[in-house]
Structures are given as C-alpha cells and as structure tokens.
Symmetry: C2
Subunit: 334 residues, 2 copies
DNA sequence: TTTGTTTGGTAAACCGATTTAGTAAAGTAT
DNA sequence: ATACTTTACTAAATCGGTTTACCAAACAAA
C-alpha cells in the first residue's frame, strides 16, 4: 500500500501542494473557506499523516533532543530522565535517551549519531573524555547542557549538586551523632569524575572543620563489582570505621548488602548515611538517613536552559556551573 | 557557519555527489583508488558528517524504533528499556523512549508522533484503549510488538509473563509456609489491564487448588495513591490476612511502608511475597521472597521479533502471545 | 577493424515536505 | 477608466542525501 503524501491530498482536493502545506501550518488566511474544507475532507478521506522527516529536512529542526546519561543504573539518572522527558514533551520536543555506560567510546558514538540525526540540542552527563567533540559543539554554538558532572576544560553550562555541601551535611549529621571514625566510599575515581572527587573533598574539609583526623585508609573507591572487597578490607582493619558515608546509591546498596550478610546492626555496629535518595530508604530497618539532590529542580533547570539555547535566546552571561543545594533527610541509620 | 554537505565534499574532491555517496556507502568498486583518497581527504579536511535526516527521507528508513512504556515507574519497565536500548544499539538502531503514564491519550499522541517521525518499528506496553490505531498499524503491516499486556481484540505479537503461573508460584510458597488467609493487592484494574487481571485469576485458581476459600474482601485493587487506605481497611478487618501477595513492585513498596509504619513484623505478623524483583529485596530485613519475571529474556525476545519484522522476514506463523516463565526467589518474608 | 566488456565516473530524478516569488481575478479608491 | 490592493492560489526551488540510467575511455576478443 502506497504511502499518502501531500501531493495526493492536493490532487484529491483539487488544489496545490503549497496550499495544503499552508493548511497544515494553520495559515488559513491564504485560502478560501471552500478550499480549506476540501483539504480537510481530503486529509480525512485519505487518512493522511505528514512525514516529519521531510519536514525536518527542509526546516532544519527535528524537535528532538538527545539525552546521554553516563550510567542509567543510578536512580538519580532515572529520575532526571523522567522529568526531562515530561518537560520536553510539554514543549513539543521528543527525547532520545542513550546510556553511555560510563564508556567514553560509547559516548562518542552516541554524540555523533545524535548530531547526524540533527537533534536540536543535547543534555549530557559527560564522561569527560571527549574533549574534542565537546569543543566542536561549543564552537558551533550547538545547544548543549552538561548535567551532574563538569568538564574543567570546557565553558559549557553545567548543572551540578553542591557536592562539597552534600558531603559536609553528611559529616555534620554523623559528628552530631558522635561518630568520629567516619569512612567514605565511592565508585571508581579514575577519570576524575567530578562529583566523586568533590564529595571526597567535602568530606575531608568537613572532618577538618571538626578537627577530626583525615585517615586515608578510610577513603575508599572502587568499581561496583569490587565494593564488597573494599568493605571487607575496611572492616578487617584494626580500627574499623564507626560510620560509613556511601557517596551514591550504588555504593549504598552494596554497603547494606555487606552489612546484612555480616549480620551487623545499624546504627549500633555501624552508622550509615547515603548521598542520593532511594525508594526503600524510608521503610528500611532502620530507615536510612540520606542527603538528597533536588532532582526535579535540576532536571527542570536543564530543560529550561537547553530550550532557551534552542530557541536562540542569547544567554545573559557566560556559561555557568549552576550549583544546586542538597537536603538532609534525617532518619534513623545514624 | 554554514553546514558542510555532500556537494561541498564533492567539489573539494573534484568529483560528483554520486561518487561521494558511493564512497560513504563503502561501494568502493565504483571508483579509483585515487578518487577514494581524494574523497577521504576532503571529508577529513572539511570535517564532514552526513545528515541522516536527508538519508532517511530517501531511504524511507530511519534506523530508529520507538518504545512506549505504560508506566516508567515500574522497575520492570526500567529494566526492559535498558535491555532493549542496548540490544537495538548493537544492531545499529536508535531508540526513542516514551512514557504514556497509563494515559491512553498520551499513548495516542506518542504513537502518532513516532509514526510521523517514521520510526521503523514500535514496542508498546499498551494501555489497551487505542484499538483503532493498533488496527491501522496491523493493517499496514507496520512492525510492532506488544509487551507485558495483551489486547484481546488484536492479533499482534505479544510478550507476556505467564501471570497465572506467577500468582500460583506465590500462593504455592505461601501455603507451604502454612498461611491460609492470603490477600492479593494490585494497582487499579479499571481498563482491565491484562497482567493484573491474570494475576488475580491465578491467585483464585491457586487457592482453589488448595481448597482454600476465595474471599472477595481479600482481593484489593487501587491506584498507587490509595493503597495505604486499602491496606488500612485490610488490617482493620475482623480476620485480617496472614499473608499479602503484592502483585507488583509499586504495591510491594506501599505494603512495606505500611508495615513499617504500623510496626508490624514480617513474617510473624504478616507474611509478604511480591511479584517483580526489586533491588532491595535481597538485603531487606527480612529479605523479601519474590516471583521474578525473566526481564532480560523478555526484552531480548521483543527486540528480536521486532527486528525480524523490520527486516521484512515473513513470520513463521500467525501472531502469538509469547508466555514467559516466572521464577520464585525464595527468601525469608514468608 | 569491429564488437563487447570493464572501469570509473556523472547528471538528474527522487524522497516529501516548506517557502519564495509571482500572478490572475476581484474589489476598492480616485 | 485607471491604478492600487487584496484575495486566493500555484510553480518551482530547496533541504541533503540515494539511486538509476547513461556514457566515455580503455582494453580485450573475434
């Protein structure tokens, strides 16, 4: 069955393609009532649906944005995606979601594919390795917003948690509970992923604020698959930590797994605090205290900034890192 | 800065668009080594990237598939999405993910938008309300696979859990633990969403298998927001249930919230079993017994079926409902 | 020498919209 | 009656690729 095109509609309605196009774009001033009705009828009768690929080619706009998350397994990413999608959809934009799996090569492929597909803008949780690509896009003034992580070499609008503050909030809470031997665990820090670095920095500074010693062997980083090993090391130390700051939700899950397995009790044997809210924190036994990111605001701001760029509004100032404030949800794990 | 097109490359390489196109499609037999090198150099020098919108228009293929999930909040959906995206990406396809939020109107819009965008195929978790659209696509032989839910009126390939079996497995486990007053709770059943209906049916049949009475007041359905009310009702009954079968992950979360709030103990005060695996089940206190869906297999099968249709392979038989087998993960909540 | 084949290439149509420039006919102003 | 507007419409160019049909030159075969 042949596809119905605008030419078919025009023929059927005894008018020209141009007029049908005007009709579709609701510029009714350019035609008589009679013509309009004939077009309406023809569209109905032929069950015509415009081809937006053709439209995009001519208009040089696809009304589609790309989102490349570094790792879709973080519940933070999932929530951001959901809000972004809803927001873009409201504004008539489609969203293509890609998962770079923390692999710079995959990220490169996705960026190239999305650009070839002529997306109108990009939101990226950058791996930080594809500087040349970031640079190119910036030079072209291609609409782009970074999320969650900053890339030092690039002056690109970026939305990030105030990670120093987040770690500080956690340490504040822990010291208030009289824990002094505090460990921080985060996922791998090769490639200097900025939020992880910053959370460790924030932790160090907060300890210093309380004149607590910073013990390097309390600072642990590892891939998700090796976190159990790291935890074992930690608890086999002469002076194991009294409290653990899980620097993201993946770490928190591994920490709780380990604790369950070793039959330790929270907070008596170890106190636990996490950065990133997770769905089970509220009804866990005990409920887990957590520092949450303002996900909705972050996603909304990202969408807003990107749409502004797409609509060609010259940005007020130069590219900024927008720092969002974390929030402590105090429960009973410390 | 003007965009670089194939014409620019041709000019720069002193050849024709046709030859450049052949080059891009790796049909090197049609040109001399010398020409090939010149094209290569020109592409490099101009930093040319082909426009896939133009290509799609001519080829009538976008190498993009759409996925419309009914509700992205189910962890099941998230996992399916992840696997689908990975799988399609392997095969050179992009994935556009949309969330219908269980709203048939949103679903309709998404289907229409994705078709206008000329996606090559569609995977839908159908709301079940847009029969006319489903029908149209089927009539056109448009590649489409249903996931998780079936639509009775439509003969469209569908991938579903064996929901009767899933509920039966849960009841088996509960009766083995000597629980006899078993309640099932599921999210709203208006619009006859098939997996929910089937799980309730499976529950009834399983009770009958054990000659246990089927009490209608133990069968509860409600929107996520009203589940707490439903739980209150349930536990304020004269004979409250000894065990709860949470028919999906959203219900499970609400059940555990309620239990925590009321300070009930699992499994002594109430036993709990869920359908759908969740990340915290393994290290919850107590670890939650759960019937899991073979998500990976389901997503892989869906991708495989869809790609076959897209590649025009005539399907062996008529459209089928593919029933996948659930699996009990026995832990300590019953 | 003539014919056939291979090699290396190009011009132009095409995909299905949008948009610009132009025009015929009718209406209005002077 | 003439000039100017407005109304209603269309032809054709365009977006950036792909593909088909065709061709000239070089070479081989008869």
């Amino acid at each position: 069955m042949k596809n119905v095109t605008m030419a078919d509609v025009a023929e059927h309605a005894k008018t020209s393609k141009s007029t049908v196009s005007q009709y579709l774009n609701k510029r009714y001033e350019y035609m008589s009532e009679n013509t309009r009705k004939r077009i309406e009828a023809a569209i109905e009768e032929l069950n015509y649906h415009p081809n937006s690929v053709a439209r995009s080619l001519k208009q040089k706009a696809t009304y589609t944005v790309g989102v490349i998350v570094a790792n879709i397994l973080h519940s933070f990413s999932t929530h951001i995606i959901r809000t972004l999608e809803t927001e873009f959809n409201k504004q008539g934009f489609h969203t293509i979601i890609c998962n770079a799996d923390d692999d710079p090569e995959k990220e490169r492929n996705y960026i190239e594919m999305l650009l070839a597909k002529q997306v109108d803008g990009l939101i990226i949780f950058p791996t930080g390795e594809n500087l040349d690509l970031y640079e190119q896009m910036k030079d072209r003034d291609f609409p782009i917003v970074f999320m969650d992580r900053k890339v030092d070499a690039q002056a690109i609008d970026t939305i990030m948690l105030d990670n120093h503050k987040a770690a500080e909030l956690a340490v504040d809470r822990l010291t208030a509970g009289n824990y002094r031997k505090i460990s921080i665990i985060t996922t791998s820090v090769i490639r200097n992923i900025s939020p992880r670095i910053e959370r460790i920095e924030g932790y160090r500074q907060a300890l210093q604020k309380y004149s607590l010693p910073v013990r390097e062997d309390y600072i642990k980083t590892a891939d998700a698959e090796h976190l159990q090993d790291v935890l074992r090391e930690l608890f086999e130390m002469d002076a194991p930590p009294e409290a653990i700051l899980a620097a993201n939700d993946i770490v928190l899950v591994e920490v709780l797994k380990y604790i369950k397995e070793k039959n330790l009790s929270i907070p008596d044997d170890v106190a636990v605090i996490g950065i990133d809210e997770v769905p089970f924190a509220a009804f866990f036994t005990p409920p887990i205290t957590v520092v949450e990111q303002p996900k909705i605001e972050m996603a909304n701001l990202a969408a807003e900034l990107l749409l502004k760029k797409i609509n060609g509004q010259k940005e007020g100032g130069s590219p900024t890192v927008h720092r969002m404030q974390p929030n402590l949800i105090d429960r009973h794990s410390c």
